[in-house]
């Protein structure tokens, strides 16, 4: 699809084209409008968008073109360059046509620019100034529609302002695959609208607002909040999911008001999920932590026995932390989380934890997916390589549509437009199922068995038909190379299942390379910085030799979240530290988390917002939001470093995570060795061979491609043993949805009502065998607990399984789970 590639490489056999008398060399197959733009000639346009198929709808880009048959007006967005083409973009004929089109677009446009959010950054306004006639000849009454109508929970549509460029509608059907808005009616009454009773409830609806060339589409979080000329902006990286989508952060009066997607060719192509785009609302929340909190009494005085959290000073909080940590054995300290911090925060904390506190009990993943050491041992790849035209992508236990929105859009594009084949191997059908060439849904707990079978097909395995396995196996063996997007698998399975599956995949298929699609923003940064058991910065294993300026390393390999909680349950943890996480709701075994944290003597939290777990903390440090309030860097799923930029000041006395680590270390009498992030990077470069060649300035100044880190010094990891489940009871599948009850989402007013709620989905054969009918409520009971949810028949759930969504408002699937088991078995009982 050269037509959609705005930055196609210049090839040797270029096509000579003369534009306004100047000969340029265009790329073969390139559209005239793009070729002209690359050579400094801007042809006005509204409907043309380089990431979507051209439609030639607005007619603004008409230019006089002569291909040897005499000059004629042609839409440059639909016209591929041809040898010897002569183009006049400024001729009288061209100008007259462009003036005419602008006048047509304006005659029914309300010209309410003074009250329009788009005013000041409006392509229609700008091009009217640059190319249009000075005044209107239209004296008739303009077209009228009801002023803005909501077309979804987030997006409003003003049909009077709409110029029918087909961008939003094309995005919805072509890019997002949610064709929920379309043209309706005819002629001058043509309008964009949704179908009756079907709102534009797309995970990606915010992109339509960004690409709307007029003020017809507006998003709730930004409506009437600012004028473009009052905004200042800075290039940054979106931190909510791990794709590392490039964004521009815009603020006014020290408040972030908008994220805009930036077209980064190797990463997000300008697109963002709505969750990512509007997540800044959480950082503007009144609930933000502005000062340290300590245990205190009802009068607000700090006392160790206090039954509530009260405001305290930094000095007191630091003293209390030092007291809590004083004399504690390293193996009796546990640290949870860290994936929401910048790389710098993660490095400072890794150094504090591993070199100063000398414990290796730290886990940023919270039981989500294969272990960090296993993932870092894999050959990695890039999103571009995964999306190679004609390539093959195995989506292993991942649902990018729910968890990695812009990665989903890239994969979908590859499958729909570039002939890539997607092979879905998932606990239940994912958002990529409609685009997959093969879909294998193994029964819960046997994903790794299925991978074994792919290496050596012998017949049916893991509940999947043997012929399907053999076909996929042959296909993968015959590929020169392919990509595996590996996710968290089912949260109902033990993480060992997905870990064994991915390690077996790597062992069986030397032609595979991997893209780890883990949950939580900078989780790959956390692994690269060593916030995982057994790891040191730069993808190194814990060993006797301390890296760089580090004084020590942990004496022995530590525990992951599950093991730390089991130890805590037995009274083996004295101090637990939460780094921006909420294990009580977010760890897939709620019972274990609760029992574990009940036995911890001192709980310390570092966070921007209080959550269910940190409400019970003894000491809470207010952290600056890593998304918009600190300078630093981000590491995405590819290992690509990109800048995070401070746009606004943190509220109150909240400080960057790395500063809090430095302060605690100082309180413990240790100098971490840096007092600003330049020094921190020097320290990092000395400790991490991976980062030693990269200067912070290079990352901060990097263009939208960022800096890609490759290589690993983790040797191959032995696949863990997995008990093969042999129960014939119904097994539980638990997967994440884009909208849930996560801490950040619940603080976003525009997003916190969007979680659809959990339901129990069962295969249609079971659905009828169990005698359910649509709309029934069922009680799902496991050994750990029970929840009551609606039951749904879903052919995308394997027979013998029940699928429930994680962390939804009506049910906490975590309360059903038992992390000690390979799978959780449940029974279903109708309650209505």
């Amino acid at each position: 699809m050269t037509a959609t590639e705005p930055e196609a490489e210049v090839v040797a056999d270029g096509v000579p084209v003369t534009i306004d008398g100047v000969e340029i060399l265009a790329n073969k197959g390139e559209l005239l409008i793009a070729a002209a733009e690359r050579h400094g000639v801007y042809i006005p346009r509204f409907c043309y968008h380089p990431r979507m198929k051209p439609v030639g709808m607005c007619r603004m880009c008409l230019v006089e073109v002569d291909t040897g048959r005499g000059p004629g007006l042609q839409p440059s967005c639909m016209l591929p360059v041809s040898d010897g083409m002569t183009v006049l973009t400024e001729s009288d004929v061209t100008k007259k046509a462009q003036d005419g089109v602008l006048e047509f677009l304006l005659i029914n446009h309300p010209l309410d620019c003074p009250v329009c959010d788009k005013g000041g950054e409006c392509p229609l306004q700008d091009q009217t100034m640059a190319f249009g006639p000075g005044e209107s000849r239209f004296v008739e009454e303009k077209r009228h529609f009801k002023k803005p109508i909501p077309i979804s929970d987030i997006v409003y549509l003003d049909r009077e302002r709409c110029i029918l460029c087909d961008r939003c509608t094309r995005f919805a059907s072509e890019v997002a695959g949610d064709p929920l808005i379309h043209f309706q009616a005819r002629g001058n009454q043509t309008e964009v609208n949704t179908f009756p009773d079907e709102p534009f409830s797309s995970y990606f609806s915010g992109n339509t607002v960004q690409i709307c060339p007029v003020g017809a589409l507006t998003a709730k979080p930004y409506r009437f909040k600012a004028r473009p000329w009052d905004l200042s902006e800075i290039a940054s990286t979106a931190t909510l999911d791990a794709v590392g989508s490039r964004i521009t952060v815009q603020s006014s009066r020290n408040q972030v008001l908008r994220y805009l997607g930036v077209d980064s060719d190797p990463v997000n192509w300008g697109w963002l999920s709505d969750k990512e785009r509007f997540s800044f609302e959480a950082w503007n929340s009144d609930a933000r932590l502005t000062q340290p909190l300590l245990r205190g009494d009802s009068l607000g005085n700090p006392t160790d026995e206090g039954d509530q959290l009260v405001a305290g000073s930094w000095a007191l909080a630091l003293t209390k932390v030092a007291e809590a940590l004083d004399g504690v054995e390293p193996e009796r300290i546990a640290v949870f989380g860290g994936a929401r911090m910048t790389n710098e925060g993660q490095y400072a904390w890794a150094k504090l934890i591993k070199s100063v506190l000398r414990t290796d009990n730290v886990d940023a993943q919270l039981g989500d997916g294969a272990g960090g050491k296993a993932l870092l041992s894999l050959p990695r790849t890039t999103i571009d390589a995964a999306c190679t035209p004609g390539g093959t992508v195995v989506v292993l236990g991942a649902d990018p549509k729910e968890t990695h929105g812009s990665l989903f859009l890239r994969l979908r594009h590859a499958a729909e437009n570039d002939g890539a084949s997607i092979i879905e191997i998932a606990p239940r059908s994912s958002g990529l199922a409609p685009y997959a060439t093969s879909s294998l849904y193994p029964v819960p707990g046997e994903l790794d068995q299925l991978v074994d079978a792919l290496g050596d097909p012998f017949g049916d395995a893991a509940g999947v038909d043997g012929d399907d396995i053999a076909a996929v196996s042959e296909r993968l063996r015959n590929e020169e190379s392919f990509t595996v997007v590996v996710g968290s698998g089912s949260l109902g399975d033990s993480p060992a299942v997905i870990e064994r599956a991915v390690l077996r995949m790597a062992a069986l298929f030397p032609n595979a390379s991997f893209l780890p699609a883990l949950h939580r923003g900078n989780v790959m940064g956390a692994l690269d910085m060593g916030l995982a058991p057994g790891l040191l910065p730069g993808r190194q294993a814990v060993g006797p030799e301390a890296p760089g300026t580090w004084a020590n390393t942990p004496a022995m390999e530590g525990l992951d979240t599950t093991a730390m909680l089991h130890l805590a349950e037995e009274g083996g943890i004295d101090v637990a530290i939460l780094l921006g996480c909420d294990p009580l709701t977010d760890f897939p075994d709620a019972g274990l988390a609760e029992r574990g944290f009940n036995k911890v003597s001192h709980l310390v939290a570092v966070d921007s917002l209080l959550n269910f777990t940190s409400t019970g903390a003894d000491i809470v440090f207010p952290a600056a939001a890593s998304a918009t309030e600190v300078d630093g860097t981000f590491t995405n799923i590819e290992g690509r470093l990109s800048p995070i930029s401070r746009k606004v000041t943190p509220p109150g006395t909240a400080r960057a995570d790395w500063m809090i680590a430095v302060e605690i270390a100082a309180q413990l009498g240790v100098d971490l060795g840096f007092i600003d992030i330049d020094e921190l990077w020097a320290d990092l470069a000395a400790a991490s061979p991976l980062h030693s060649g990269v200067a912070l300035g290079d990352v901060m100044a990097a263009d939208t491609d960022g800096v890609l880190l490759t290589g690993t010094s983790i040797d191959s990891v032995e696949p863990p043993a997995v008990d093969v489940p042999n129960s014939s009871d119904l097994r539980l599948v638990v997967t994440r949805k884009m909208y849930d009850e996560g801490t950040i989402l619940t603080h976003c007013p525009s997003l916190n009502q969007l979680a659809a709620g959990a339901s129990a989905s069962v295969n249609p054969t079971h659905f009828s065998a169990l005698g359910f009918s649509e709309g029934d409520e069922v009680k799902v009971t496991s050994q750990s607990g029970s929840v009551t949810v609606p039951v749904i028949s879903d052919p995308g759930v394997p027979a013998g399984a029940v699928a429930i969504e994680f962390n939804q408002p009506n049910a906490s699937a975590a309360s059903l789970l038992d992390s000690a088991r390979t799978v959780t078995t449940v029974s279903l009982e109708r309650v209505s």
Partner: protein, 462 residues
């Protein structure tokens, strides 16, 4: 079920002398039944075709120079040749979305003789090896729909459609599709979009030349109903017999739908090229002249999209090329006669309004421009015109169709004809079509516009 009696004047159709290639059964009350069709030579063309190699049938069509009857007048045999070899599947799409103002010939062909159309479809599919045929019928044509559906059922049952037609290796299915009532779907790429289940909006050519990239991205031949209806006669009688009719450049007969201020409006099958507008309008066998007491003022020579002609042009032959050179088009063969009682501004508004309402909404110049034209004309007609409105109208028109617009000569003012077709800032010709009545009316009857604007009434007939 019926008397089977041949009556000379079936509804909408006027029996006239001369060879009938496509209307031979129109006079029978039961003309649409398989029984009547078989009794009057139906499916003989198919049998003749199947007795020959497909290439030979294609050759006959090419040799006979069967011109497309949809409006553009492109030779069907040559169009068929654009279908790339060895690409499967490939489709035949029958354009039965006849909606051009004034045109109702295809409706009669579908209502009065559906088997003849089906036979034509089968011959075309055989000749160029098409995998499947889609019959797209305009949404409003309920009777045509019903009769085609019945005819298809009858023909399937009798073994004319489906697997191993008439015992040969040739198999093809015909699928009937009912449109939703959009004029624009008569444009072939919009028709394909509609057939695919999308909103009917034209595609840009290139890359979407249907013969190469058509329905579902496959090679697709889009033919008009009347074009295909010619094939049975052609296969039975051969190319030489076909060329004995009509002129050398436009052989065969053609159906013309005449409406308006003539004594006997209706559809006539006449030999094209050798018959003139004068013959048709004034001939005793045809329309028998303008209604009593009136004179011809102007006429639309080929559907609402065609620039108007005037009394001095009636000697033009009914043939695409000379009519095009005269600044208009033969188009779909719809002739609208307007006598001296007609208000030129009102007539102009009426045609413009049609295009404004039927614009698909895709291209800005057409979507916005046609309704702007309509509003200006309505304002002039309502007595609220301004002197500058005439130039404004012409300039708005120029922004939809830039440069000199095709228009007939006007000897009284010493103006030369501008030949067809117009240029356009839009994807399809719908927008530019709205310009035809404006330029035609203003060029000839500017005084009528001036009078409405100045408020001084002008006598327009009685």
């Amino acid at each position: 079920m019926s008397t089977g009696e041949y009556v000379p004047h079936a509804p909408g159709y006027v029996d006239s002398p001369g060879t009938k290639m496509v209307t031979s059964r129109f006079g029978y009350e039961d003309s649409y039944t398989l029984e009547r069709s078989l009794a009057t030579g139906g499916y003989e063309g198919l049998k003749a075709a199947l007795a020959q190699a497909p290439d030979a049938c294609h050759g006959i069509t090419r040799d006979a120079t069967v011109l497309g009857r949809g409006g553009a007048g492109f030779p069907a045999g040559i169009k068929w040749g654009f279908c790339p070899a060895e690409v499967w599947p490939r489709y035949l799409v029958v354009n039965g979305d006849e909606s051009e103002p004034g045109t109702y010939k295809d409706r009669l062909l579908m209502e009065r003789d559906p088997h003849q159309l089906i036979e034509g479809c089968l011959i075309a599919c055989y000749a160029i090896g098409l995998s499947q045929c889609f019959l797209y019928v305009r949404g409003e044509m309920a009777i045509a729909q019903q009769r085609l559906a019945d005819a298809l059922n009858e023909a399937y049952e009798a073994g004319y459609i489906g697997k191993n037609i008439l015992g040969t290796d040739f198999s093809v299915d015909i699928i009937l599709h009912w449109g939703a009532g959009a004029y624009i779907v008569g444009e072939e790429t919009a028709l394909i979009e509609s057939l695919e289940g999308n909103r009917g909006m034209p595609r840009l050519k290139p890359p979407f030349f249907p013969a190469a990239v058509g329905l579902y991205g496959q090679p697709t031949i889009v033919n008009n109903v009347e074009t295909l209806a010619n094939l049975p006669w052609l296969m039975v009688n051969g190319a030489d017999a076909y060329k004995e009719h009509g002129s050398e450049t436009s052989p065969g007969t053609r159906m013309f739908a005449v409406s308006g201020h003539v004594k006997r409006p209706g559809v006539y099958e006449v030999e094209q090229g050798i018959t003139t507008y004068e013959d048709l309008i004034y001939g005793d066998d045809y329309c028998q002249g303008i209604r009593d007491g009136h004179e011809l003022k102007m006429f639309i020579p080929g559907g609402g999209s065609a620039p108007w002609l005037f009394p001095e042009h009636v000697s033009l032959p009914l043939e695409a090329r000379p009519v095009g050179a005269a600044g208009t088009m033969l188009g779909s063969g719809a002739i609208v006669i307007m006598d001296d009682s007609t208000d030129a501004v009102k007539a102009c508004l009426r045609v413009v309004r049609f295009f404004a309402r039927e614009s698909c909404g895709k291209c800005a110049p057409c979507r916005e421009g046609t309704s702007w034209e309509e509003k200006i004309l309505q304002r002039i007609l309502d007595g609220n015109g301004r002197p500058e409105d005439i130039d404004l109208l012409l300039d708005v028109a120029d922004n939809i169709s830039p440069g000199p617009y095709p228009v007939a000569s006007d000897e009284s003012q010493g103006l030369e004809a501008v030949p067809f077709p117009p240029r356009q800032t839009t994807i399809c010709p719908l927008g530019p079509s709205s310009v035809a009545p404006i330029t035609s009316a203003i060029r000839r009857f500017r005084h009528e516009f001036d009078a409405k604007i100045s408020g001084v009434p002008v006598e327009v007939g009685s």
